[in-house]
Symmetry: C2
Subunit: 183 residues, 2 copies
């Protein structure tokens, strides 16, 4: 699986051959089929596990406090840091979705909807409580998630900032974006 993550993240699913993965794992191509019935099944295993991790990160952050402002800060900080720290997995999670077979796609699409719902609901609650000021909670939630997701596209091990520092900075930017009072 690690070899698959590495290969898919670097070259993309369709540009990766089963021989690439096997070679990167120090095995023969046939060895893959002992563990996964197909190349697509390997992608699904990686993608589902990655999505479950991302969802867990967001869920725990959302439940860490009652204050919408602090909860949102935690979500953005951890979500961004996760995309930076685990940027190889995150790249597969965020950008190889389209390569999944339909049934498998539906499963991870549900996990993605869960993530979006948590963020959208928290923005909406913050607006109701007067903590945030945004025109459209849906658009704001989209923008917040975009900030995190796009980190997977450009972050590399040679980036100067640590995932945690980047998370803190993005957390600040996000709260200001939401018009949070005194952030």
């Amino acid at each position: 699986m690690l070899a698959g993550v590495e290969s898919f993240a670097q070259r993309g699913y369709h540009a990766t051959t089963t021989r690439d993965i096997a070679g990167s794992a120090g095995m023969s191509p046939a060895a893959l089929y002992v563990h996964f019935p197909s190349k697509a099944a390997l992608l699904f295993a990686i993608s589902r596990s990655g999505h479950e991790q991302a969802l867990a990160v967001v869920q725990e952050a959302a439940e860490s406090t009652d204050s919408p402002v602090e909860a949102m800060r935690e979500i953005v900080e951890r979500f961004v840091a996760w995309h930076a720290r685990r940027h190889t997995v995150a790249r597969v999670v965020q950008y190889e979705l389209g390569a999944l077979p339909e049934r498998e796609y539906e499963i991870v699409a549900n996990l993605r909807r869960d993530i979006e719902r948590i963020v959208r609901d928290l923005v909406a609650r913050g607006v109701e409580e007067g903590a945030f000021t945004v025109a459209d909670p849906g658009t704001a939630a989209r923008a917040l998630l975009s900030l995190g997701i796009d980190v997977a596209r450009w972050y590399s091990d040679r980036s100067r900032k640590t995932p945690e520092v980047l998370g803190k900075e993005y957390g600040q930017l996000a709260l200001r974006m939401l018009g949070a009072a005194r952030s």
Copy 2:
């Protein structure tokens, strides 16, 4: 080229066959090779043209006014609207970079650096003039660009908001993110 954009945007470069493109253009596979020496050359033609358009959008927006705040509003509005309106081209531009041969990649990478530089310099100038308040102009510029780029990933023709409306909303969010006085 249009058939190529459509195919690459929908399935990704590596998952697209020359027969797909030819079929979508109502031609035989061999007809492609009258116009482009290879599938990669077609991708490059699309990618370069798309990057040049995006750069032009940002450049014109940046030069439209002397005020950093208003210039940044124009940049984000137009950059976001472009990614929504031309989301098929934008998808190829933003997410099929890695499929380009090295020499061709360098050329579009330079166009991308131009775009980033304009945004980064404008953030820096705004900070100097006291119009913006951000900890790190580089990070802020990254975040601003991420907002626009990620639109290409999720925007579809069935989205409820028009590209222009979406641009206006993102423009507001962006200015608040930058701590712009009175936005």
